[in-house]
């Protein structure tokens, strides 16, 4: 703490370089900055408390909340006494001071607000200032004197709990009072227990000098968490051994396969190549490689490249099939599924392309047709069933299988490395790194993105790379991406699949992490532009590369590998230092694993992901998104964005809020109160919108400031509107009323809708409203709680509202589906068991 950093700060010198007086003043100010006073016990005490919290919060997944004040209850410092309350407590604080950890343990005692100098006092509670209390937990109060146990009824009548909660009480010992909720407490709710000063008395007749209040909060329920649900764990099955740097692919009949690592040293990050093979089979059999298989002792499994076998596929339930006996850097299946092309590397480093039947038979070298030997082939793709496009260190070539005539489509400049070229699976397009574009500088990074006004000289070829190209910013509604000279180019190689109007520079593609969709209709890349606050992933149709859309919710970790499914609707990310995440293009996380993988390949139908990790080829099933019903699919992905938005409000993540807010919408950073501790979504409603406006999700979310020793808890229920912009969900509207004191009376915790059962003779929907307080059942009437349309029409119920005191849920049942635009109306007539009412009528959007 006493470190003084008096070293030279070049940034200050630059900032005040022409104002020596200010520079000197700044340096002096810097050198004379005050050394902080620090109670040496404080770091250890806070650490102890944090560890206690961490072991609960990080292992249970329950987000903790600001907890007990752990600052040292130090007798020598009067300021502590003053802050902890009246002098009476200072005595307890003094007694409690000892070892640092011991001091932490008694803070709960000190933070009770009971000024009782020398008299009767509550000295401990198991929940005081705890913020993740189990809703089933009883509340204990310990007194410093034996208590009169004869007055239980009067104590019961006097004890107050907010939110209103029915309890029983019992004296566990003469000094310990136990308060037990009749029903489990509400989740994620702040509670305050008040013991009126005259409600209890000691055996010698003393009473408290003042009311005692105990504040605590309950742990959140999973369904109320503002965080997106944890990503489901990908269930991956190992299908066979693989060299650590082998490339996963999908071979004939949808069998997963892997190339040998030794042959792929220069293989680019690539998209799945088996784009049009036969339908995949079912799940591969885990550990399909029999122990006696040659593969079991294959060098491929021992990561010894020099002795490696060729590419291998693992048909479901069958023995592995070696597609070649020599190392193969790339494999592609013909669109009709009958042939497999392999880029084989000879021992002398030369390359050849071999085409064989889908069972590995009838191998036929198709390139080079004679001498001299060809360069090593690093990638290949089928352009139809009779033409193969491939990449060598010299350029991009194609070979016609009918006459084995080859032609060069594009020649790399001498400075090119060819290592970052990515071919589209249909051979119609390629991504060329800047270093492989003639006239462009080498792979140097540019610190400041600038419009690439210089026209690169792309080598014209017979098959169609245009001779001229102009770089222009490509924009989404939310951002403009300006290419830099270091970014690569998307070019057309053949006529198949349509032409790109002109070579287009992909802004931010200097990352080199680029992939095409299996159908070659989309290209995705990791954006490495300097303006990006966080790594992001962009996607664009190859037919219109200027129509760039940012993929929402892409991981912010370093993305080292990328794969797109058939049409780019689902993406897989290989993360650094480890982890695979599969998400939809709308930001829905479908699954993740901790595997370290750099080669990812979707199956042709997108239902499986093959990857190489830890010396094994694994295949994971890609689970579809959970929102599948037509009624809600128009808002698929919006819930997750909403959860992230509320989570960012709670964590004050300005960058996150900005990223989730549509251009022109109110600033969430400005509207969100700075001191929010918790938040959760209460209800939401999806509407289809019009062709012009698109679907909309309107939600009500609660932001909460937990009570402290000096201030009451406050909350506000905000309205969040999400719409689609550029294919992604963003917050387009936000209304945050001022925080208000939580006060008494019941509050709604959540509203949910259960749609009619499929095929039901009398379809009906249930709207469930969960409250934080025990309700007075007689107050749950059509006049206190009802449904109405957006036009204010009351929606008739099939039956009376049903209240379940165990769960504090009220269920309203209506015929058929809940109409769009429906709102739950909670009127002021509804009452908790203490007679508290909501301060005002509140509406919550629900519906399809």
């Amino acid at each position: 703490m006493s470190e003084r950093r008096d070293r030279y700060d070049p940034e200050l010198a630059e900032l005040f370089g022409d104002e020596p007086g200010l520079l000197e003043l700044a340096q002096r100010v810097r050198e004379s900055r005050p050394e902080p006073d620090l109670d040496p016990r404080f770091p250890a005490i806070l650490r102890a408390r944090l560890m206690e919290e961490a072991r609960t919060a990080l292992t249970t997944g329950h987000a903790s909340r600001p907890a007990v004040d752990v600052r040292p209850a130090a007798a020598p410092r009067c300021r502590f006494r003053a802050r902890f309350g009246p002098r009476g407590l200072a005595a307890w604080g003094t007694l409690a001071v000892g070892a640092a950890v011991a001091a932490a343990a008694v803070v709960a005692i000190l933070s009770l607000r009971a000024p009782t100098p020398g008299g009767l006092a509550v000295v401990a509670s198991n929940v005081s200032h705890q913020q993740a209390v189990d809703p089933h937990q009883a509340i204990t109060l310990s007194f410093n004197q034996p208590m009169d146990e004869q007055n239980q009824q009067s104590v019961l009548a006097a004890v107050k709990i907010q939110p209103a909660t029915q309890v029983t009480i019992a004296w566990k010992t003469p000094e310990t009072l136990v308060i037990t909720p009749v029903h489990p407490l509400a989740a994620d709710t702040d509670y305050q227990v008040t013991i009126p000063k005259t409600s209890v008395q000691s055996q010698d007749g003393q009473t408290l000098n003042a009311d005692v209040t105990i504040d605590f909060g309950t742990q959140p329920a999973a369904t109320l968490s503002p965080s997106a649900s944890p990503a489901p764990v990908l269930e991956a099955a190992a299908v066979g051994p693989a060299a650590s740097d082998g490339q996963a692919f999908w071979g004939p009949a949808g069998a997963p396969g892997v190339t040998d690592g030794s042959a792929v040293q220069t293989t680019p990050v690539t998209a799945p190549s088996a784009t049009a093979s036969a339908s995949p089979t079912g799940s591969p059999t885990p550990s399909a490689t029999p122990a006696s298989s040659p593969l079991a002792s294959s060098p491929a499994s021992s990561a010894t490249p020099a002795a490696a076998a060729g590419a291998v596929v693992f048909p479901d339930g069958q023995a592995p099939v070696a597609l070649s006996s020599m190392p193969a850097a790339a494999v592609a299946v013909s669109p009709d599924g009958f042939n497999v092309a392999l880029a084989v590397t000879e021992p002398d480093g030369s390359g050849q392309i071999v085409v064989e039947g889908d069972d590995g038979s009838q191998a036929n070298q198709v390139w080079p047709s004679g001498s001299p030997p060809g360069s090593a082939v690093t990638a290949l793709a089928w352009d139809g069933n009779n033409r193969i496009v491939f990449v060598t260190s010299q350029g991009i070539d194609a070979v016609n299988l009918s006459n084995e005539h080859s032609e060069q489509l594009y020649a790399f400049p001498s400075a090119g490395t060819a290592s970052g070229v990515v071919l589209a699976p249909n051979g119609g397009y390629a991504f060329l790194p800047a270093s492989d574009v003639a006239g462009q500088p080498g792979p140097t990074s540019t610190a400041t993105p600038a419009p690439a006004t210089a026209t690169p000289t792309l080598t014209p070829t017979p098959s169609g790379v245009s001779a001229s190209a102009s770089a222009s910013p490509v924009a989404t509604p939310s951002a403009t991406y300006i290419p830099s000279a270091a970014d690569g180019w998307l070019v057309t190689l053949a006529t198949a699949g349509g032409q790109i109007p002109s070579p287009t520079q992909l802004a931010g593609s200097s990352s080199g992490v680029v992939a095409f969709s299996g159908a070659s209709d989309e290209v995705g890349w990791v954006y490495a532009g300097d303006e990006a606050e966080v790594p992001s992933v962009l996607e664009a149709p190859v037919s219109d590369p200027s129509a760039v859309a940012q993929v929402p919710g892409a991981p912010t970790e370093s993305i080292e590998a990328l794969a797109l499914d058939t049409h780019g609707a689902t993406l897989a990310y290989g993360l650094d230092p480890g982890g695979i995440e599969i998400e939809t293009a709308t930001g829905v996380v479908l699954g993740s694993t901790a595997d370290v993988a750099r080669s990812l390949a979707f199956s042709p139908d997108g239902t499986q992901l093959a990857f190489v990790a830890a010396g094994s080829l694994d295949v994971a099933e890609v689970q579809p998104g959970s929102t599948t019903s037509p009624a809600t699919s128009v808002c698929q992905g919006a819930d997750q964005v909403l959860s992230r938005f509320v989570g960012d409000q709670v964590s004050h993540d300005q960058a996150g809020l900005a990223a989730l807010t549509a251009p022109g919408a109110s600033s969430a950073v400005q509207l969100t109160p700075a001191d929010i501790d918790r938040g959760y979504v209460i209800s939401s409603e999806c509407t289809g919108g019009s062709a012009a406006s698109g679907p909309t999700l309107t939600a009500s979310a609660r932001l909460i400031v937990d009570p402290t020793r000096t201030s009451a808890g406050r909350l506000t229920d905000e309205t969040v509107v999400l719409g689609q912009s550029g294919g992604q969900w963003l917050v387009t509207g936000l209304s945050v009323p001022p925080l208000r004191v939580q006060g008494s009376g019941p509050h709604v915790l959540s509203v949910s809708v259960t749609p009619p059962a499929k095929g039901a003779l009398n379809p009906e929907s249930a709207v469930t409203i969960t409250f934080d307080s025990d309700l007075d059942p007689s107050s749950v009437t059509p006049g206190s709680l009802w449904l109405e349309t957006s036009g204010g029409q009351t929606i008739p119920l099939l039956d009376q509202a049903a209240y379940d005191p165990d769960t504090r849920k009220v269920t309203l049942t209506v015929s058929g589906a809940v109409p769009a635009g429906t709102e739950v109306v909670v009127g002021t007539a509804i009452s908790d068991i203490d007679g508290g009412h909501p301060p005002a009528q509140v509406l919550y959007p629900v519906g399809s």
Partner: protein, 187 residues
Amino acid sequence: MTLPRAYEDQLVERAKSDADAFGELYDHYFGQIYRFAYSRTRDQDAAEEVTQEVFMKALRAMPRYRPSGHPFSSWLYQISANAIADHFRQRRPQASLDAALEIVDPARPVAERVVESAEAARVWAAIDSLPEQQRTAMTLKLGEDLKLAQIGEIMGKSEGAVKLLVHRGMIGVRQRLGVSAIAGEPL
């Protein structure tokens, strides 16, 4: 003071589910955060309160934390800046800056005066009186030696905007100290 980036990234990732890893982060960053809190509040109790708040909030939000390309400390400073702002919203400054400044002898060059501790405290009091954004930028730059880019990340501003805040802040300090110009420097 700076953890190796790769190690920090791993530690942060582990801290999402491992209390000991979070403890290691705490051990490393406690000093910085406490010092920043103290620099801004100039009060031991307040600094403790803010520091406690920062690490509790960080712990709570840890599972949602995603690296932004900046050091983990940027995130902690960001939480700290919010916590300090909350602190000042709830508790107004107790001392009058005007009272503190009225005894300044404007005849002496400011740069000379700040070498004395009392004067240094006065200068830092002048920083305290700056507008919120300038105050935060000045404290992070002159009190914490952070890079302008990192301050920008913490404050959600561009590096250029931070430069402007620091520059204006220094001019503001000079004005508040009652000196129109440093010796030899024209206005």
